[in-house]
Structure formats: structure tokens, C-alpha cells
């Protein structure tokens, strides 16, 4: 596990050709590790009939509304929490 709870992280902004579980609205965005879940088989290879090994660490990453959506939307503050695999996380920018 490369990251610890409370650490700021940035989600890699790279494109990915094929199945992956990192939604585009968090790519390039900076958030904070909220939970370190466990390791799980990698859906990016599992989706194509492989075993998904090695297992990858999975984190719950929390983002402020203002980080995700530049234009001020109505409806006040909130946070969005997304499960992100470690190979999609980078040191916070």
C-alpha cells in the first residue's frame, strides 16, 4: 500500500484504451485518501478473461465539489468519494 489515510493524491489524467474503472470526471483531479480498502484483482485485465493478478491496492479517495466541477453549480458543498486502484494514483499535484 503506497498511500496512507489523509494523504493527498492526484488521479492520473491518462486515457485508457479498454475496460477500466476510473471514471473520467476524476481524472487529473486531486483528492485525499479516505480509506485503504484492500487489494483486489485488476478489472482491466480480468475484463478480458485473464486472472487479474497481481491484485492491486484499492483506495477510497474523497474529492471536494469545487475540485471536480469548475463552474459553480447550485446546491452547496458536498464531497464525492470514489474507489480508485493504486496504479491510477500519483503524488498530489
Amino acid at each position: 500500500m503506497m498511500y496512507r489515510v489523509g494523504e493527498p493524491v492526484t488521479v492520473a489524467a491518462r486515457a485508457h484504451d479498454g475496460h477500466h474503472r476510473t471514471p473520467s470526471y476524476i481524472k487529473g483531479k486531486t483528492g485525499r485518501i479516505e480509506r485503504v480498502h484492500a487489494t483486489f484483482r485488476n478489472p482491466e485485465t480480468r475484463a478480458y478473461g485473464e486472472d487479474g493478478l497481481p491484485e492491486m491496492p484499492l483506495y477510497l479517495v474523497g474529492f471536494a465539489r469545487s475540485e471536480l466541477w469548475a463552474d459553480a453549480l447550485a446546491g452547496g458543498e458536498y464531497r464525492v468519494y470514489v474507489d480508485v486502484f493504486e496504479h491510477w494514483l500519483e503524488e498530489a499535484k
Binding site: R21, T22, P23, Y25, R35, H37, A38, F40, P43, L58, L60, G62, L68, W69, L73, A74, G75, G76, E77, Y78, R79, V80, Y81, V82, D83, V84, F85
Partner: protein
Amino acid sequence: MSDHDHAPINNGDEPAAVRVRALEELLVEKGVLRADEIRAGIDWLVSRTPADGARLVARSWVDPEFKGRLLADARSAALELGLDPGPSPVVVALENTGSVHHMIVCTLCSCYPRALLGPPPAWYKSLPYRSRAVSDPRGVLAEFGLEIRDDVQLRVLDSTADIRYLVIPRRPPGTDELSEEELAALVTRDSMIGVAEPAAGAASLLTNDD
């Protein structure tokens, strides 16, 4: 079935259903799955109901130590009550309080704690819910009839991977006299997704004083 002489495949069904049936036929034909395995899987899925999740919530309302165990490891807590937490995905329970409100979405598809809540409602799988839950959650909740005060921290959980989230809603006021079973009857599916409060209206039907 054996010699592949199926009727015109599109008999007025929606395209997704036609595609699923074609996939199913292929998987069976190629020996990846047997038809009875598919049926058993579907039977299991449709046999699940939100009543199981409701039992977890009701127990957590009457037993703080159980709530602690539910928050720490929902899978073990479900097993403790004799409930089937389902295959691999890990379930994480999140508690709504007077200062924090959680709601659940899967923006990428329809990830949902099916083992404990049954099949997800159609709106949960709809594009408008999936996109607006993360971009205008208060607006979405208002459409469900739920106003979240500005001083309440709103947390939207996007279930993108192996974890399935279950909300423990707040116990409605005026339910002190209710039994655990009566409490469970108040815990609606939507309250465990975090888009509604438990059926407080139903509570007054169960109590005699008002």
C-alpha cells in the same frame, strides 16, 4: 434449443434484452456456462430483497455494539444475523447522522449491494441519476423529497470497484417503543441507498399515541 432453429430473435424486445439473450446463447453454446447455471444465478439475484438490509439496519438501531461491528465489517455482521452477504464484493456500511448524510451511486454502471438489497431500482441504473448524483446531489435528493440542510456534510459514494456500499439511515424520532421487527419494516430500500429517510410516516401508524 439444440439445432439452433430459433425464431426471429427480435420479437419486440428492447435491444439490450436481445443482446443479452444472444450472449447467453453463445456462452452456453461455447460451454462457458450451462443454462442451469445461468438460471440459478438469476434465481439467486431475484430472491434477494431489501428486507435483509433492513434487518441489519434495525439491529444496528437497537444494538450499538452490533452497529460497531456492522460499520467495521458488514459482511461478518450479515453472517452474524444469518444473512447471505453474497459472493466476493466487500460491503461497507456508512452511517447517516444529524451532521453527515451519505448517498450511493455507481456512475460507471449499476454496482449495488444486491445480496443485501436485491436488484437495484431502474432509476439507479439510469443515466440521469448516475450523472447528476455526483454533479448536483442536493438537486437529485430534493427530487426524491429529501432536503439536506447546508450544515449537513453531504457525501456521495461512487461505487466504481469491488466495494458495495450500504447506508445506515437515521432512526426516525418517536420509534423508541417499536420492536426490532417493527423497526425493520420502516427501513426502505431507498433509505439504504441514501436518497430517502426511513418511512417515518409508517412509524406513526405503528404507534398508538398519535
